[in-house]
Symmetry: C2
Subunit: 414 residues, 2 copies
């Protein structure tokens, strides 16, 4: 058996044992552990930053630059932000674990319970802050976890687990093995993590792109469920009845970041107003430093610029006959993550919102809102774009549960 | 391409086109179509029973007997029951399509919407009544469907679709192609149905057993989600503090039918009261005509008698040290469909209910309650036993939706 397989299996088994303890924990105890992690992020600052320095040195030696190194780098500001997120999560409500459904004949009542899933896997690129982010959300939902990060961040991730997560769990009286880090480097570990449905039935795949797509497919073949979006790319349709200033405002706010999945990727303009509006739109894009790809296109209309290294600062621009056609283009030619319409015409908005089937449908505002924290006020575990019942769109810790039906005598109460 | 593949693809494409129409339908129109189907079940009685007679003749010629033929047979009583179910479903509430979540900054509000899935597949054994059962639930939830039944029921199924479902849809002004029947005989069609995630992302697999297990695995490999339970088998733990009469009552009511997945399959008796209780338990089983399999067992403790042709009238009996161990046995050695405890001791009940992780956990009542209609008062689409977020346990039409987040200006309303 490979080193990666051995490491994943050992981690999953340790997490499974710890889960029994975790699933019985009082939510207040878990929240205490999260607050303790926030404090330890500052208290263990030097150990964490030293490990991160080693990762950064190796990254420099390997010739890594730009956004990759930026994501890898920890510093006081990022540590403080991580601590703030931990405290916010500790303050967020626990999952409602039971609700009464109805009375049953014979003096019984039916309750619907939400149980932790058990061991949840998470795979993410070399971003050390995600270690704490994902670990805290799994703990908040009562789940144990097996985390796997890009090799470039392995020292930082290990320091965060060893100096922040594990001691905080132990101090709260929880089994410190509940959060496991796969310490075998290399992409093999990611593949092993999505191959073991009996040990890890659900894996969160953070980030878009080809490697996420391959892992999603590999997981499906093995019978492992994933929460993932290999593709992103927001769609914006500017209707003939759009307020012009509103349209320009939404375009600009949809392009404030270019490397994220919910940014504007495909801009559709109503054919009736194309000639009138396109000069101002092109001027706006030029001012934002974004290159328009105008028809006829030499690429699929849904081509995702955020994943096209070196061409991130591009937007595909095209016409659409009306709100129905625009929504159908978004449905059939894009990932289905989010689409927006700008219009003053309620009927046009209704047609667009009703026809579009992606995970987020927005009127007169930006697809950049498609984010768990922005929409729901709690951190986002990941985004899921599949087309079946279950958590879809921004997934939060509130979604990480199993449904169970419980029948008890009316006099009896758990 | 095989005949089966061609048939499945054509059916799925036809259903997809019809879905666009269906997803815009007013729930009252769908309910009207369901009531019309109930009337047509009686009105088209002779055509349906004639087709069923042909199926029965072929089954007899093929040497089929017993339960298989019983399930295949339609008659006035069964037609009346099917009509009653259709009317009850028409009276059941529509899926709540939108709920307000919270206000967002800038004068917007977030809504969570429930959208139909699209085209849902369903595979079931040669039981003609399931055609109407599944079709009606898919329509009630706004979904289109591709149905595939065992070849022995194909004439009956076609008659029900052609004389009952399709004309009722057309009369209600809905696209009659919304419910498709795969008319290619043979098991190939079932395999083709679970291989096409782009056309049929979700397939309901009715019934337990080896063929369901194989289809579940095949679907997973292809990236198709299933709602299925290959295995069933209820567990009952009789605690030391059980009321004796209650225990015998629950045992008896758990064995009223032997071919169903939620029947008593494994009876665990607290070791402290084993010697005292086992004579009466054996006498009860003898009176019910059920053979106990006593320890030491020559089979796995979770062996499912309902699927063991010729040995259905058996129950595995064993000891358990207490409620925690009983629940752990149920967790690790059975399908996880449902388990019950009989006890007067609240602490024992709490331990058992909290430890057991299957889809239904019951106190002082029978696992036979694990059924969508019994628990929730609406027909059951199927039972799903996987261990990930999403519909789990008895699934009803209320579960057959996609989550979508919608943001609209506060003044705007769809």
């Amino acid at each position: 058996m490979s080193e990666a397989a051995t490491a994943v299996i050992a981690a999953a088994r340790a997490a499974r044992t710890a889960f029994e303890d975790l699933s019985n924990a009082d939510p207040d105890v878990t929240d205490k552990a999260l607050r303790d992690m926030a404090a330890r992020l500052i208290g263990a600052r030097s150990a964490v930053l030293a490990a991160n320095g080693q990762d950064l040195d190796h990254a420099a030696a390997a010739g890594l630059t730009g956004a990759v190194v930026d994501r890898l780098r920890l510093g006081d500001e990022r540590l403080a932000a991580m601590a703030g997120q931990l405290r916010a999560l500790a303050d967020a409500p626990a999952i409602e674990r039971a609700r009464a459904v109805r009375e049953l004949p014979g003096g019984f009542r039916l309750e619907e319970h939400r149980r932790p899933v058990g061991v949840i896997g998470a795979n993410f690129e070399a971003r050390p802050n995600v270690v704490v982010d994902v670990a805290s959300q799994l703990l908040k939902s009562g789940n144990a976890g097996v985390l796997r990060t890009g090799s470039a961040a392995l020292r930082s991730a290990a320091a965060l687990v060893d100096s922040v997560v594990t001691p905080a769990l132990a101090d709260a009286g929880l089994d410190p093995a509940a959060i496991q880090l796969v310490r075998a480097p290399g992409r093999d570990a990611a593949q092993e993590l999505v191959r073991r449905p009996d040990l890890v039935p659900l894996v969160i795949l953070r980030g878009s792109g080809e490697s996420t797509r391959r892992l999603t497919e590999e997981a499906a073949r093995a019978g492992v469920r994933t929460l993932a979006h290999a593709d992103g790319g927001g769609v914006l349709y500017v209707d003939r009845s759009a307020d012009r200033a509103a349209a320009f405002g939404v375009i600009e706010s949809s392009l404030d970041r270019l490397g994220v999945c919910n940014r504007l990727n495909l801009l559709l303009v109503c054919a009736d107003v194309w000639a009138e509006m396109i000069p101002e739109i092109l001027a706006l894009l030029a001012r934002l430093g974004v290159t328009p790809s105008l028809p006829p296109h030499g690429h699929p209309r849904g081509h995702e610029w955020a994943l096209d290294t070196g061409h991130e600062a591009s937007v595909t621009v095209d016409t659409a006959a009306g709100p129905g056609e625009a929504a159908r283009i978004a449905n059939t030619e894009t990932s289905g993550i989010a689409a927006a319409i700008v219009t003053e015409d309620r009927q046009a908005a209704t047609t667009f919102l009703h026809t579009y089937r992606g995970t987020g449908a927005f009127w007169n505002t930006t697809t950049r809102l498609l984010d768990g924290f922005t929409l729901l006020g709690v951190p986002e575990t990941g985004i899921n774009v599949d087309h079946v019942p279950g958590p879809r769109g921004p997934v939060t810790y509130q979604d990480l549960y199993l449904r169970q039906f419980v029948v008890v005598p009316n006099g009896g109460s758990r």
